[in-house]
């Protein structure tokens, strides 16, 4: 081959890599539909289609519509695979023939159809008939394209356990015949909730790891934000915008959440110059859009609270009255003891620590938050501000006994030391 030919071949390989990164999930989503919801066959076909592209594009040039080329190549690879199996099972010959006959319909790979396929994939991976753990694993694997190893690492579990979870979920999709569909309008609110919940859990796992040494796992949060963008782009639902806003507004504080030596910095201690202004602006715009719709829910309200924090130049300038008001609306929409705890903390900022402490004590007396470390550290903080040092120490000690995350533990130990000194 000439030097120029080698250059062209190298460029084509780079193009295949770039197309893989940008388009492989779209191609997969369409192949699953064309192959009647068969995830495994579609994945196999996807890999064969890219292998064919690596072989052909350097010689033939990159096709004008790479994605349509890959879908078509993947479909014919799948037809070949079914034909090979049909030698042992005559009934499959009909399946292969059906797929080949359908292959001539150009509507199947048009732009709108492809976007619908991505939504179909998201809704199928987050189907409420699948186990909650499996929904998260399947979404990260199929929609985000993360490897089983990467997902297992992020969730502190072993790759075989995670692979097993995905295999079982795919078997249920096949055996119970979970359809590859975007839900009908009547079912959309409930089904969208399930999808948003998966995205939110992925984000939280990335933002505040539930245990272990690292406080944040930025990769998972980035994936969750990408998923959130995908949903906002594909579905005009206010809560999808609310969730994306919430994630962006939390993410905007990432650099300020830990000090240079890896210690936890609470909201009122954070260096606000480190907050990501672009993410805040985008998040605030999304919150306003969702609030205007008047069809918003808990994610939008939490995002609105985060937006009030984001708009305050310093902690003391925070509009606490507005935050308490937003918590009141949130409690009506989605009552939970954790939201009550957060409202009590906001109330302490608006009306003073004694008012907040009364609420926290009443909440703890009900028992639901008795083992929740943040309830005890919130109580400790209010006691400290009221000058009740001995009680504050006891409450920090209780929080420390319950906290599992290293940076949080160090933060509580630091507070305990300060109260001793």
């Amino acid at each position: 081959m000439t030097a120029a030919g080698e250059d062209a071949a190298g460029r084509a390989r780079e193009t295949v890599d770039a197309v893989y990164r940008a388009e492989s999930r779209r191609v997969l989503a369409t192949l699953i539909r064309l192959l009647d919801g068969d995830f495994d066959l579609a994945e196999e076909a996807l890999h064969e289609a890219f292998a064919a592209a690596l072989q052909r594009w350097p010689a033939d040039g990159v096709p004008a519509r790479p994605r349509a080329w890959l879908v078509s190549a993947g479909r014919f690879k799948a037809i070949d695979a079914i034909r090979r199996r049909a030698r042992f099972d005559a009934r499959l010959a009909d399946v292969a023939e059906h797929l080949r006959a359908a292959a001539s319909d150009p509507a199947e790979t048009d732009e709108d159809g492809v976007e619908d396929d991505r939504l179909r994939l998201v809704f199928t991976c987050c189907h409420p008939a699948l186990a909650p753990d499996a929904r998260i694993a399947l979404t990260l694997r199929e929609v985000c394209g993360l490897t089983t190893e990467a997902i297992a690492r992020a969730f502190l579990t072993s790759p075989p356990t995670l692979a097993q979870r995905i295999v079982r979920a795919k078997a249920k999709i096949r055996d119970a015949r979970i359809p590859y569909q975007v839900p009908q309008r009547a079912d959309l609110p409930e089904r969208l909730d399930a999808v948003l919940h998966v995205v939110y859990l992925v984000f939280n796992e990335g933002y505040s790891a539930s245990s272990g040494a690292a406080l944040t796992r930025a990769d998972l949060s980035a994936e969750a934000i990408r998923l959130g963008r995908l949903l906002v782009e594909l579905l005009p639902e206010p809560e999808a915008a609310g969730l994306l806003a919430l994630m962006l507004l939390h993410e905007s504080r990432r650099a300020a959440r830990t000090t240079a030596d890896g210690e936890l910095a609470l909201l009122d201690e954070q260096d606000r110059s480190l907050w990501n202004r672009a993410q805040i602006a985008e998040g605030c715009a999304l919150v306003e859009r969702a609030l205007r719709s008047r069809r918003f829910g808990p994610y939008t309200l939490q995002a609105a609270i985060a937006a009030v924090h984001a708009e305050a130049a310093t902690a003391v300038e925070t509009d606490w009255a507005q935050i308490v008001g937003l918590y009141d609306v949130l409690l009506r929409a989605d009552p939970s003891p954790v939201v009550e705890l957060n409202r009590a903390a906001a109330l302490a900022m608006r009306d003073g620590p004694a008012a907040g402490l009364a609420r926290v004590d009443a909440l703890l007396a009900r028992g639901e938050l008795a083992d929740y470390h943040l309830a005890h550290s919130a109580r400790a903080d209010l006691l400290r501000r009221l000058g009740h040092t001995a009680e504050a120490r006891a409450a920090y000690g209780r929080a420390l006994a319950l906290a599992r995350q290293e940076p949080e533990r160090r933060f509580l130990e630091r507070r305990l030391r300060e109260l001793r000194g």
């Binding site: 495994d40 199996r85 009934r91 499959l92 096949r174 119970a176 359809p179």
Partner: protein, 122 residues
């Protein structure tokens, strides 16, 4: 595709219903059954006698054992079933969510194995 909808209810709650409540509940069942006959989902359906009438049979080491009662003691008991024909799980869930006991007990939806058809992936 066929799905079996297993209906679980707390028999004590059922027994505690007044005569008119019980009749209204049965009326809902008749209306539901008529509805799924018309929509073409219905294949079969029966209500069962209370678990007090149940007998469980096992053979272990060649010996038959016959015991009173159901296989497992639970708060909710199997009280009946529908066998339905549905397009897919979403369609089956739609049907099952209209079974009157869904509001008092719970419905387990199980796909039925079709030995006459083999899936391309298996």
């Amino acid at each position: 595709m066929k799905y079996l909808c297993l209906i679980y209810d707390d028999e004590q709650v059922m027994d505690a219903m007044s005569k008119s409540e019980g009749e209204a509940f049965m009326g809902e069942y008749f209306a539901f059954t008529e509805g799924i006959r018309q929509s073409g989902h219905y294949v079969a359906g029966e209500a069962l006698q209370p678990v007090a009438s149940a007998t469980t049979i096992r053979i272990r080491n060649g010996k038959v054992s016959t015991t009173d009662g159901p296989f497992a003691e639970t708060k909710e008991q199997l009280g009946g079933f529908y066998l339905i024909e549905a397009r897919d799980l979403n369609d089956a869930i739609q049907v099952a969510s209209r079974i009157p006991s869904v509001r008092t007990g719970s419905i387990e939806v199980r796909p039925v194995v079709d030995f006459s058809q083999q899936q391309p992936s298996s």
